[in-house]
């Protein structure tokens, strides 16, 4: 073994240590989030209920949820000479305030929440270090096999989440779910998918690897955030429906769901995310086709990976169409979004494991 190989071996080792350390820190973040949810429970419970049923309490006049013509203060009215802009939701959407977040407006909950976020930032940095060390050790992009793909994937997902936080978007509510799944992803990656660091077979030597796979990972990571929001939208929507029709949700639902943003906000958030990534996903597939044209002599050959990228793409196109078609807004469109993400997941795990095609390289 020559000297260069030895440094590579060291780097690979460093990478593994960093990945395990990040898992430890993510675990701390996980517990901090749990504490946030637990200590935040004595919150302004019933805000949502009040918004939905309170109107009803004033007599059936304003009744139901949907016809209430509430207007809210527009954003950014702090500047003195800026005129006040009154906004109205489109007819038909419920005017429900967003929940207060996991911390539930309590000081203690918020403190734990902040700790969780700081922990997540730290874990993210450690994990990113692990990915970079891995890349250095193999002297190429860190996505030549499923292990590398997985660790990069969750790093990017957390990165996207932290970016949204930094942009002051209201996304802290997804922290617990995200950290949990990141732990799961890393657990699977280190136990089942681990592959020693090594170089690539010649077919993977191409700058299209950088372009195609990096955008694929980014798309998946952001689609994932969209899917989380969609899933929570479905829960929150049923919760609001139940409240609006005078039902009494269980105390767990009451406590957890009332703290989430309003269904309308979640729905809008997931739509924005998915719509923003769809063009990038389109680009990813096209970049893949160009690469396939260079590597295999045909730009499209219905290889399983290609087929599932296509299916995923069509499924997201379905979702976007559904949103644009009146009768399909809301829950139906949300189901489509989840199916579409399911297709992406299957393309990522399922196709590599269950189906053989040209895309199987380097171990798994």
């Amino acid at each position: 073994m020559n000297l260069a190989a030895a440094t590579n071996e060291n780097l690979a080792h460093t990478s593994n240590v960093l990945i395990y350390s990040s898992m430890a820190v993510y675990t701390l973040a996980f517990f901090a989030h749990i504490a946030e949810w637990v200590f935040g429970s004595r919150s302004k419970v019933g805000r949502t209920a009040a918004a939905l049923t309170g109107a009803g309490a004033e007599g059936a006049g304003a009744g139901g949820s949907v016809k209430v013509q509430v207007a809210q203060k527009g954003g950014g009215t702090a500047v003195l000479d800026r005129p006040k802009v009154v906004t109205r939701s489109a007819a038909g959407t419920r005017d429900v305030p967003d929940g207060p977040g996991a911390a539930g407006g309590t000081f203690k909950g918020d403190l734990y929440g902040r700790m969780a976020v700081s922990m997540t930032v730290l874990a993210f940095l450690v994990q990113a270090g692990g990915v970079i060390a891995r890349a250095l050790s193999v002297q190429r992009a860190p996505w030549g096999n499923m292990y590398e793909f997985s660790i990069t994937f969750s790093t990017v997902a957390v990165g996207a989440y932290l970016t949204l936080l930094a942009l002051k978007k209201n996304v802290r509510w997804m922290g617990l779910l995200l950290v949990t799944t990141v732990l799961l992803d890393l657990g699977i990656a280190t136990t089942w998918l681990y592959t020693d660091s090594d170089q690539l077979v010649p077919a993977l030597h191409s700058y299209w690897l950088w372009i195609h796979v990096s955008t694929a990972i980014l798309c998946g990571a952001v689609f994932y955030l969209g899917a989380v929001a969609t899933l929570l939208y479905l829960f929150r929507d049923s919760y609001e429906n139940k409240l609006a029709s005078g039902g009494q949700p269980g105390s767990f639902a009451q406590s957890v769901l009332s703290r989430l943003p309003a269904a309308a906000s979640l729905d809008k958030f997931s739509y924005r995310i998915n719509a923003a990534v769809f063009p990038l996903w389109t680009f990813t597939i096209i970049a893949g086709a160009i690469w396939a044209g260079d590597a295999w002599g045909r730009y499209w050959g219905w290889d399983p990976k290609e087929v599932w990228s296509f299916i995923t793409w069509v499924a997201y196109a379905c979702y976007l169409h559904a949103r644009a078609t009146a009768g399909w807004k809301g829950r139906k469109a949300a189901y489509l979004a989840l199916i579409a993400f399911g297709c992406w997941l299957f393309n990522y795990y399922g196709v590599n494991i269950f189906v053989t095609g040209k895309h199987s390289y380097a171990g798994v």
Partner: protein, 596 residues
């Protein structure tokens, strides 16, 4: 919700499309034509009688968004079986294996064309219907869009307070002046604006619609280019040993496939010679033996009398000559052997390409001596050898030998020989890698067993009874190339790029309208009202409206407050309108926290 309202109790959940329609009614013309999306008829009534009525109905259904949605869904469902069941278009061998292993389902699959999903009748039907639907959707939408570009933004709706974003203030400037300032401001911000009655109407973001149309048209371009490519493509394989060459005519290919409209005369004229092939492999670690680089050094000539040029073909870097691409596909070893007859005369010397059967390039093949050999009696006969080759010998052992490493570190060639009749040399396709032993007799060793021997480079195997000898002279490498031409791929790429650009426009640009109504108020003070309407609710719209208002306030400064509530006095006779409470209640918690 403090005041009493006259609204009747609303049903629990209204149907969303009803809500939309009600909303549309309220906005009147102001909300119309904000997109060219077709209006869904939720209850598609029974068609009128007669063939034309039915045809119309069918066409309307086919071009509706709902059916487009269903077809899209079907398209993705239909693509699934092709990814799970082996496909003829990808790997015919696998299909055969599958059929042998699953004898019960295979006939059913065959009937359903599950082995050729992507060229099956049903899959084609889905995408052809989808694209007819798409064309039927695009054409009228393009017409509508051009109409919208020609016409001007619609005038302000009666009650601006009903719009998603609204602001108002009072000013002492003259209404006429304010309108002019508003018009100038809108135009400066590249709105299309004009004055209708007491209000300025402005619209922006037409690129959204244009982008959407470009995207859908680009999909059609891509499909047509793909179909064209399939019909006119050609693709063939050629195995070349170092030192040999190839020229691009039909007869030179080992195998050749082409689209149904391909014309052999259209093959691009060029030729090339394989000078040298080099492969490197991982020497250590768990992935030992994995290929790292493959390089084919070639000299090629364009046209019949082109200047020879040198280049290197790698796995991801095909040689491109006049739109034809030459890909490096596979490689292997071609041991050089020479055969002498009983008199010691060399009758055969060739590099014989052998086929790899595993990742370490353990290879098999056949050596066939058709002409020139005479046995010890001087009788003309033919010789055949079964060849087994390993580039790196894994030590001796009983039975078959296997290679330990793909590079030729310690090459060994194992042979056993036959004499007799090899079968026809040409004509009937003969598999060059297999020996047809039906009319051949084995050479036997002294014990009467099959004669076989493992040779190192330079070693010779003697044939029994002075029948001559065969010598392992050396090794050359061979490379196989895929030579393919797929016309219209440039169009496919153009379509793809246009699709992405159009999509970005369609999804990121917001189409919105802004109205500025300026009316003299009851007390002689001018009332300015501004309202915005987007195609979908957007967080940016109120922001933009606020920006515009701030700009306009510069030319229409706010008048000192009186105690009249702003906004309510603009519409005489509508004072107890429930709308006014939208302003009062603006102190409530914002519902759109997600967008703060």
């Amino acid at each position: 919700m403090s005041n009493t309202k006259s609204n009747p109790p609303a049903p629990e959940r209204e149907r969303p499309d009803e809500r939309d329609r009600e909303n549309a009614r309220e906005l009147g013309a102001a909300g119309s034509q904000l997109s060219t999306a077709p209006i869904e008829e939720s209850a598609a009534g029974l068609p009128a009688m007669g063939v034309i009525g039915w045809a119309r109905w069918f066409w309307r259904q086919l071009t509706s968004m709902r059916v487009a949605l269903i077809l899209l869904f079907l398209l993705s469902l239909g693509a699934i079986p092709g990814s799970l069941i082996p496909q003829n278009s990808v790997d015919e061998l696998k299909v055969e294996t599958f059929k042998k292993a699953h004898t019960t389902v295979s006939p059913i699959y065959e009937k359903l064309q599950f082995f050729d999903v992507y060229s099956s009748v049903w899959f084609s039907a889905i995408y052809i219907l989808l694209f007819i639907s798409l064309i039927g959707c695009i054409v009228p939408r393009t017409g509508q869009f051009i109409g919208q570009l020609r016409s001007r933004p619609p005038g302000a709706p009666k009650r601006l307070t009903r719009l998603p974003a609204y602001t108002t203030w009072r000013t002492e400037a003259e209404p006429e002046q304010v309108r002019e300032a508003a018009l100038a401001m809108m135009r400066k911000r590249r709105y299309r604006a004009h004055t209708v009655g007491d209000a300025v109407a402005a619209e922006k973001g037409y690129l959204r619609e244009a982008g959407n149309l470009v995207f859908h048209v680009a999909l059609i371009v891509m499909l047509v280019a793909f179909a064209f490519g399939q019909l006119f493509k050609s693709e063939g394989g050629k195995l070349i040993v170092e030192g040999d060459g190839f020229s691009n005519t039909l007869t030179q290919y080992d195998d050749f496939k082409s689209g149904s409209l391909f014309d052999a005369d259209s093959l691009a004229p060029f030729s090339f010679t394989l000078d040298k092939f080099t492969g490197t492999y991982e020497r250590s670690g768990p992935q030992i033996g994995t290929p790292r680089t493959y390089e084919a050094h070639v000299t090629y000539e364009k046209g019949a009398y082109g200047k020879p040029q040198k280049t290197v073909i790698r796995v991801n870097e095909p040689l491109v000559v006049d739109g034809t691409k030459v890909y490096l596909n596979a490689h292997g070893y071609a041991p050089v052997v020479s055969v002498k007859d009983g008199k010691g005369k060399e009758v055969y010397r060739n590099a014989v390409p052998l086929l790899p059967i595993d990742n370490n390039v353990t290879s098999t093949g056949a050596i066939k001596v058709f002409d020139g050999y005479r046995d010890k009696n001087g009788k003309k006969t033919q010789l055949g050898f079964q060849a087994f080759f390993v580039p790196t010998f894994a030590g001796s052992g009983k039975g078959t030998m296997f290679s330990q490493f793909p590079a030729p570190d310690m090459p060994v060639l194992a042979l056993n020989g036959f004499h007799g009749y090899l079968g026809p040399d040409s004509g009937l396709a003969q598999n060059v890698y297999q020996l047809d032993k039906t009319k051949m007799t084995e050479f036997k060793d002294a014990d009467g067993k099959q004669l076989k021997q493992r040779l190192l480079v330079g070693e010779t195997m003697k044939l029994p009874d002075g029948a001559g000898s065969i010598t392992f002279e050396g090794i050359q490498e061979w490379a196989s190339f895929q030579i393919s031409e797929q016309p219209a791929s440039g169009w496919a790429l153009t379509g793809a790029v246009a699709a992405i650009a159009g999509l970005a426009g369609s999804l990121f640009i917001q189409r919105r309208r802004v109205w500025v109504r300026v009316t003299p108020g009851a007390d002689g003070v001018t009332v300015v009202e501004m309202a915005g309407l987007g195609r979908s609710e957007s967080a940016k719209l109120p922001e933009e409206l606020a920006d515009l208002a701030v700009t306009l306030i510069a030319s229409a400064p706010t008048a000192p407050e009186t105690d009249t509530a702003p906004g309510t006095d603009t519409e005489p006779g509508s004072s107890p309108e429930p709308d006014s409470d939208s302003v009062e209640e603006s102190s409530e918690e914002p519902a759109e926290g997600a967008e703060k």
